[in-house]
């Protein structure tokens, strides 16, 4: 394992961002070319890494690299993936690749598709974001995790504020940034407290998270600090009642950024809450799991109901994301094998599914210039690819067997049943609601007659868009049909978490 694959995956987007910023602003095609080449390369590397892990021994953390960063305070650049993070690295690669594809833009003046205004800055900021996300998923050092976490937050402000939907972009961008920043700095205080307590207990000055697993935090310390750390990160995971920034952000963001935001960024919150909150403070997690479970249960049902009454397609998907991320949190809060398994797969499955939804919504909006569900119709004839894609995404969202959503949601409900059967019953209401709004929306948007207003305005989507849709759909079907490409891996990650929980 000599090739430093994880650091290459992480730093490639940063390098590409710098290169793009150094290119002349009017070379739009070349800038897009660099973006696509980088994204493809990163996806290939991430895929190769994933296969290596899957076909290898699948034990513990792999591809570990460690470089001194600030040895005096025990800060190092330590990369490594386990069964939980490897799928998320792949997910980031997929979303980055498809995000670049659908942002390519075309020269048709009637279709304002893709990014026409300052693509150089757009792709540079998007890649800074992507690099930050990769960095969080692969870091095994707490300082490094925060470093990349913040890098992933600030480009969001610019991406939404500059290229977002004119009506709400300023408001939404600022709201999102403040929410996420507040969450992350609160978690930072917790992390610093953990760092010094470890020093008191063991005399080791280190931000190494594997080291911290055996720092011997006292029970009262864990009870006190678990909440700020977990919820500080979970804000980004869209946990109720701190979910408010999320749908606003989705709606205001340009298509590729919505894909990133819902597909990857929210996983960042769930993942960091799991890795730092649950894994480093396991007794705190056991103490407070009822609270998370309650919040997550509310999020699941509430999100689904709110999604049901939305008339704006993007708000509908935004709130369905709150509901689905609630399932992830629900899975985490069970702290048992099935629940955590499901949460791990759900993070991947939901990431791909929402990315697909937002990509399709973006394509429709670029052509119809409206996202209001009552004003749409007949898209199946006009844009058959988007219709099929949306239906597959919908089936995943409903948790149909044969698709990745089933592989994810079924274990979560089993896990919840093991902890609190009543909650499982209540949460399962969301499945019905989800099925209802997905089917109603599919009927209204894709079937029926094309509204007269839109007659002749709906130009076909580009080949790049089709590639993106097919790619995302096939991944979801692949996992649904052959769960073995993912579940054994996630299972290894879960075993590690259970070991920490059991040893507490």
């Amino acid at each position: 394992m000599n090739f430093p694959i994880l650091s290459v995956i992480t730093f490639l987007p940063f390098a590409a961002a710098v290169i793009m910023l150094l290119m002349p602003a009017n070379r739009k095609t070349e800038v897009r070319g660099v973006a696509l080449a980088t994204a493809s390369l990163d996806l290939l590397l991430a895929g190769w890494m994933y296969l290596q892990y899957l076909l290898g021994e699948m034990t513990g953390y792999q591809f570990i690299e460690q470089y001194d960063w600030l040895p005096m305070l025990g800060i190092s650049l330590k990369f490594g993936v386990d069964g939980m993070s490897a799928p998320l690295v792949l997910l980031t690669g997929v979303v980055m690749f498809t995000g670049v594809l659908i942002s390519w833009g075309n020269d048709d003046p009637h279709v304002m598709a893709g990014i026409q205004d300052r693509p150089r800055e757009f792709f540079a900021f998007l890649f800074l974001l992507a690099g930050g996300v990769f960095g969080v998923f692969v870091s095994l050092d707490l300082f490094m995790l925060f470093f990349f976490y913040e890098i992933a937050v600030f480009p969001m402000y610019l991406l939404i504020a500059i290229w977002g939907w004119v009506k709400t972009r300023e408001y939404a961008a600022m709201k999102l940034t403040l929410y996420l920043f507040i969450g992350s700095v609160i978690a930072l205080v917790g992390a610093l407290a953990m760092y010094w307590t470890q020093y008191q207990n063991t005399g080791i000055l280190s931000f190494d998270m594997i080291q911290m697993e055996s720092a011997g935090f006292s029970a009262s310390f864990q009870y006190a600090w678990f909440l700020p750390v977990f919820f500080g990160f979970a804000v980004l995971g869209g946990i109720w009642p701190f979910h408010n920034w999320s749908p606003d952000g989705h709606v205001a963001a340009p298509t590729a950024v919505s894909m990133f935001h819902a597909g990857v960024l929210m996983k960042l919150g769930g993942f960091a809450a799991l890795r730092v909150g649950v894994m480093l403070l396991p007794q705190g997690a056991q103490q407070w799991s009822w609270l998370i479970m309650t919040f997550a249960g509310i999020a699941v049902v509430y999100g689904a109901f709110i999604a049901f009454v939305q008339t704006d397609l993007k708000y509908m998907i935004g709130f369905s994301s709150v509901s689905h991320m609630g399932l992830v949190m629900l899975g985490i809060s069970t702290l048992n094998h099935n629940g955590l398994m499901g949460a791990g797969v759900q993070m991947f499955s939901h990431g791909i599914m929402t990315a697909l939804f937002f990509a399709i919504t973006g394509m429709i909006y670029d052509r119809a210039h409206t996202r209001q569900i009552p004003e749409l119709g007949g898209m199946m004839k006009a844009l058959p690819f988007t219709g099929v894609g949306f239906i597959i995404g919908g089936l995943v969202s409903m948790g149909m067997p044969g698709f990745s959503g089933f592989i994810a949601e079924f274990p979560i409900f089993m896990g919840v049943w093991g902890r609190a059967w009543l909650l499982a019953v209540i949460a399962s209401i969301s499945i019905i609601i989800t099925a209802a709004y997905i089917m109603v929306d599919i009927r209204k948007v894709f079937f029926g007659a094309l509204p007269e207003k839109l007659e002749g305005h709906i130009s076909p989507i580009t080949a790049l868009d089709k590639i993106a849709i097919v790619f995302l759909c096939s991944l979801m079907v692949l996992i649904g049909m052959f769960p073995a490409v993912m579940t054994p891996m996630v299972e290894r990650g879960v075993e590690n978490i259970l070991r920490l929980l059991g040893g507490a």
């Binding site: 005096m72 800055e121 403040l178 700095v185 760092y195």
Partner: protein, 483 residues
């Protein structure tokens, strides 16, 4: 008699003096329009001084020289390098200032001021310290009021002078009391006197308060910050940038040495006092910054806020605390100079200083906008810029010293900071000029600006990513205070 150690200890100051003499000789020979070249001379000269000092003037251990007047250690040395770097950048930024750039006196004042600051960082005796502070301040009073034809500049100069003299007089009173009770002016002997219980606690408290007034003025801590916004707006912009960085850092250097060494035994009383000052300073600075419409006033209040963050490291009263202050100031000097540099480059072309005038700036000069983004994100404490790392270290020191409440106040303030820094960047990136014809209003950068801003931008990113060398130097400086 002079020993070679004495020479080495004031090597940078002697070289700066020589540089000033060269400037005095050469400048009259230049024609009027060539005189801005003084900026190149000073910047290049200071760079040479930095290199020579690093090669030949490094301290080996701590030693008292000139009969205990000066302490020759890493702490002072690190700050000296910072001051000279800041002055070199300021000289570059002065060059293209319409009314100041062609006046040799301005550069000379700058040099005189850093001699004073260098001595502030290394003074170990009350007399030396007072002389150093005045040497640093008087040229700055003149520089702040340099543009006689401009009423605001004159006002700034006077305001700074009046506030400054009052504050330093009160501080001098504190010094004289310290001498009166202990019989010594040497900081390190004072520490011994205090440790022996020579002064009662209430008295020491009063002493600390008196001394703190003068230094708080330098650092622009609330409630001694009133001069800052007016002076920053009125003074020539490069001078304002210098005031908000090097001058402020010099105040911190004195505070750190004074409190960590002389008042070490009263730590219990002054840490709480400084903690309260720090909390008030952060909060007032950041809250007032929100409503500003002038970018220089915004930066003035934000720099008040930053003094509060840096003070957390002093409050922590530990090796890591001292290290984090030094590191924070290094990152802050680079960042704030960059921010002021961008503002200067913008207002030199447009003549405008209001935040709303920055609308469409990213289309008028994308590179300048990116530099501004780097500066403001660093001020807001975002990675991969220096401000993030500095803030994390300061907060880490605070948590270690069990000042969690102060860190929480700091965090709340940094959220406020994110709000107004991003709001400003919104104008730059999102809004358009009234006629949307940004292409016809470019903002060209002259060569000195381009060089200074590029160096600063790279510096801000380097401090925020490859921080191990800076940190080990800062630690070296901090350790000198705890021996």
């Amino acid at each position: 008699m002079f020993t070679s150690l004495d020479f080495t200890s004031i090597l940078p100051e002697m070289l700066i003096l020589a540089l000033g003499v060269i400037l005095l000789i050469v400048e009259p020979l230049w024609k009027e329009e060539q005189r801005r070249n003084a900026g190149w001379l000073i910047a290049g000269g200071l760079l040479a001084v930095i290199v020579i000092s690093l090669l030949f003037g490094q301290p080996r251990g701590e030693s008292a020289v000139f009969g205990g007047m000066i302490r020759f250690d890493w702490f002072g040395f690190f700050f000296k390098m910072l001051f000279m770097f800041a002055a070199a950048v300021t000289a570059l930024l002065l060059m293209d200032h319409e009314k100041v750039g062609q006046r040799g006196e301005a550069y000379l004042m700058l040099l005189a001021s850093i001699i004073g600051m260098n001595l502030m960082a290394s003074a170990a005796d009350l007399v030396m310290l007072y002389l150093a502070i005045e040497t640093a301040s008087i040229p700055l009073y003149i520089l702040a009021g340099f543009i006689i034809s401009d009423e605001r500049s004159t006002e700034a100069g006077f305001k700074y002078l009046l506030f400054g003299t009052v504050a330093s007089t009160i501080m001098l009173y504190g010094f004289s009391l310290a001498f009166g009770f202990s019989g010594t002016t040497d900081l390190y002997q004072l520490a011994g006197m205090f440790a022996a219980g020579g002064i009662s606690l209430p008295l020491s408290f009063g002493l600390i308060a008196l001394v703190l007034v003068g230094l708080a003025f330098k650092m622009s801590l609330v409630p001694f910050h009133f001069w800052a916004p007016d002076v920053y707006v009125g003074a020539p912009s490069p001078v304002a940038g210098f005031l908000s960085t090097a001058s402020k850092a010099a105040g911190f250097a004195v505070v750190a040495r004074f409190f960590f060494v002389a008042f070490a035994d009263y730590a219990a009383s002054w840490t709480l006092l400084l903690a309260i000052l720090s909390a008030i300073t952060m909060t007032v600075g950041n809250l007032l910054a929100i409503s500003q419409t002038n970018i220089k006033r915004l930066l003035a209040y934000s720099s008040v806020g930053h003094a509060g963050y840096a003070l957390i490291g002093v409050v922590a009263f530990s090796e890591l605390g001292a290290t984090s202050v030094v590191f924070y100031l290094a990152a802050y000097i680079l960042t704030n100079l960059l921010a002021f540099g961008v503002v200067m480059a913008f207002s030199r072309v447009t003549g405008l200083d209001d935040i709303k005038d920055y609308a469409g700036m990213s289309r008028r000069n994308p590179v300048l906008a990116l530099m501004m983004l780097a500066a403001f994100l660093s001020l807001a404490g975002m990675p991969p810029f220096g401000g993030f790392v500095g803030k994390v270290f300061v907060f880490a020191a605070g948590v270690q010293a069990n000042y969690v409440w102060l860190v929480v106040v700091g965090i709340l303030n940094s959220i406020v900071g994110v709000y107004y820094y991003l709001t400003t960047m919104k104008f730059v990136y999102l809004d358009r000029m009234p006629n949307q014809d940004e292409e016809n209003h470019p903002i060209p950068l002259t060569r000195p600006y381009a060089i200074a801003l590029a160096v600063l931008t790279i510096g801000v990113i380097l401090v925020g990513t490859v921080f191990a060398p800076w940190f080990s130097w800062a630690t070296g400086g901090a350790l000198a205070l705890f021996n």
